[in-house]
């Protein structure tokens, strides 16, 4: 792994900005400042602690000394992975990713089953002229709730006349979460397999549905000279240049939740909001903690595959309560992990969670 991903615990001045912004701090036994201190002195670390981290990266972004505490967590986890000493559910996710190329252990032959439900036949990337790849991500490919997102985005792009293709069952997990769980060898294998396909089909552009895939393609894969973007970036552009028109008004109070991997980690704040603002009738609300200080849904860093044993009020529930307080009818999201995490508490509190593509499908 390149030097940019190495932590620098020895230069930490224990200012506490990391703990101050951490979504786990104060409510769980996880204390990032304490872990950095222990690493400085090579003290033993309780093995359950590193698994609380959601990889939201707030600590690294706030750190004045570039210590990269979130990378330190990956380093600690990778030691535990090499020891074979990790929670069983994470072990299953890694083994599934090794065998089936997705953490859920679903067959690779069904990776593009969502494409059977689109309004048109989605072409394989080899059959396209512009070599623009729609990368689905594992959760969209297999989870029945999230599967609607690739179907929607494909239909929307088709209506806007934007040519694209898919890899079908040649696609494999991007590895973003795998790297954060600390399985660096497996991450390298996934990167090599995907990169080889990107090169084979001379891909010029990748449109990702998950900010997690976008993040790793942009920052952690070797540079392939491919333009990588999240689907909200593309749709916002298509709306502003007139290729995509929102036809119907939608009277609704909507609050947008910034996903960590899209917002604070990749500075995509405006485009998802621009899409929503382009729809007549929508009344936008904002969380107090939005944009750079958006509250993490706790879905990253392997937490989608593993739950900590200590009970506490989850961020997703707090987020839903905040949305309710702001008077929102719907929480708009642009990340499948946020969608899954927010929807459970939202159902109990009578508020809706919709992916931006779902809201767009109502108006075009």
């Amino acid at each position: 792994m390149q030097k940019q991903f190495e932590s620098r615990v020895l230069v930490c001045i224990q200012c506490g900005k990391c703990t101050g912004g951490c979504p786990e701090s104060g409510r769980t036994p996880f204390n990032i400042r304490m872990l950095v201190r222990k690493r400085q002195f090579n003290y033993d670390i309780e093995k359950s602690l590193p698994w609380y981290c959601t990889s939201c990266n707030t600590c690294t972004l706030r750190c004045p000394r570039d210590v990269k505490p979130s990378e330190m967590i990956i380093e600690i986890r990778s030691f535990l992975v090499e020891e074979g000493n990790i929670p069983v559910t994470l072990q299953k996710s890694l083994e599934n990713t090794f065998v089936h190329k997705n953490p859920w252990g679903k067959p690779r032959s069904k990776r593009s089953q969502w494409a059977d439900k689109t309004d048109f036949k989605v072409p394989h990337i080899s059959e396209t002229r512009h070599k623009r790849l729609l990368f689905s991500c594992c959760i969209h490919a297999y989870d029945p709730r999230c599967m609607v997102i690739p179907i929607n985005v494909a239909n929307i792009l088709n209506r806007a006349g934007y040519e694209f293709g898919i890899l079908g069952d040649e696609e494999c997990c991007c590895g973003n979460e795998i790297r954060r769980i600390g399985e660096l060898g497996l991450f390298e294998e996934l990167m090599e397999e995907n990169s080889a396909n990107f090169e084979k089909y001379e891909i010029k552009e990748i449109i990702t549905l998950s900010p997690h895939c976008m993040n790793t393609f942009k920052k952690e894969y070797r540079d392939l000279g491919i333009n990588v973007m999240h689907y909200t970036e593309l749709l916002s552009k298509l709306i502003s240049d007139g290729s995509l028109k929102t036809l119907k008004p939608l009277e609704r109070d909507i609050i947008y939740h910034d996903p960590c991997f899209l917002g604070k980690q990749n500075n995509v704040f405006e485009q998802p909001r621009d899409i929503l603002k382009s729809i007549e009738g929508i009344k936008m609300h904002e969380f107090t903690r939005s944009r750079e200080i958006s509250m993490c849904c706790e879905g990253g860093g392997g937490r989608m595959f593993f739950d900590v044993e200590v009970p506490y009020q989850r961020n997703s529930e707090l987020r839903v309560l905040d949305a309710k307080k702001e008077g929102a009818h719907t929480i708009a999201v642009a990340c499948p992990f946020c969608l899954m995490n927010l929807e459970d508490p939202a159902k109990e509190k009578d508020i809706f969670v919709k992916d931006i593509s779902e809201i767009l499908m109502e108006v075009i």
Binding site: V81, E82, E95, V99, S109, E183, E189
Partner: protein
């Protein structure tokens, strides 16, 4: 304590829609991923834990094509000292032939052992008898469905076996012996890709299966035909949009008196 662990590479079929191959007597596995047989991974882990506590070496032995080398690498990454692949391209080797090959291999190559461990059964053929037949051929005591190795003594082991109805029995078995290991006896450790890459550098030994097959030992079992189970009547598949399906389902449950 020297241990031989029998390991097998099997297709992962739980989520796959399997199809019968055009020849009518095999399953099309061309697009199915493979891995170490689940039960065998518990056997390897148990062997590693025994050696960590009591010393000794572990030799992992597999029968299969060259691809089966991957399960030996995994076993080595988990803690086995070395791996032996008995090369055979035959897809179905019945448990008698398998056990016979293992027996002749262990004797001819003088693989040292106090205990032979294997999984209770393999995920693909599910005969569940290889270890038992091997024990009989070697003239050794055998315990199946082992769910715990509680004590290791000089001449015997104290084991727990799983019986019907949730009952367990504690037995003493003389060494050397053969044990078939039940899943759940332990939690097999995670083997990282880096670990497997390191294990690849440990030299495995390759042998030809023909060398160990006796002239008069042919398959006692052969596949004559594979077929899909006949469709039964009585099931109703509901069609339509999800709301529609729910409405239909509730209607049926009310009609049957399940829902009031």
């Amino acid at each position: 304590m020297d241990i031989i662990v029998l390991t097998k590479r099997v297709p992962v079929t739980q989520e796959e829609e399997l199809k019968i191959a055009p020849d009518g007597s095999s399953v099309d596995l061309s697009r199915v991923p493979f891995r170490m047989n689940d039960w065998d991974s518990y056997a390897v882990e148990e062997a590693v834990r025994l050696c960590e506590r009591h010393g000794g070496t572990i030799t992992s032995v597999s029968i299969g094509d060259m691809e089966s080398d991957e399960v030996l690498r995994r076993a080595i990454a988990m803690g086995a000292k070395d791996g032996c692949l008995i090369e055979s391209n035959q897809t179905l080797l019945d448990p008698f032939v398998r056990a016979n090959i293992f027996k002749n291999f262990i004797e001819k190559e003088q693989i040292p052992f106090n205990v032979i461990l294997g999984g209770v059964q393999s995920e693909d053929d599910q005969f569940g008898t290889t270890c038992g037949i091997l024990a009989a051929m070697l003239g050794l005591p055998f315990a199946s469905m082992v769910i715990g190795i509680d004590e290791v003594k000089d001449n015997n082991l104290i084991l727990r076996r799983e019986l019907e109805g949730g009952i367990q029995e504690r037995i003493s078995i003389e060494l050397p012996c053969v044990l078939s290991i039940q899943s759940g006896i332990n939690e097999p450790r995670y083997v990282s890709i880096m670990g497997i890459r390191k294990a690849s550098k440990v030299e495995r030994r390759y042998f030809k299966a023909e060398k160990y097959i006796e002239e008069d030992s042919s398959n006692l079992i052969s596949v004559t035909k594979l077929f899909y189970p006949p469709k039964k009547e009585g099931a109703i598949i509901l069609h339509g949009e999800i709301e529609d399906i729910c409405r239909q389902l509730i209607g049926i449950l009310k009609e049957k008196g399940v829902l009031k």
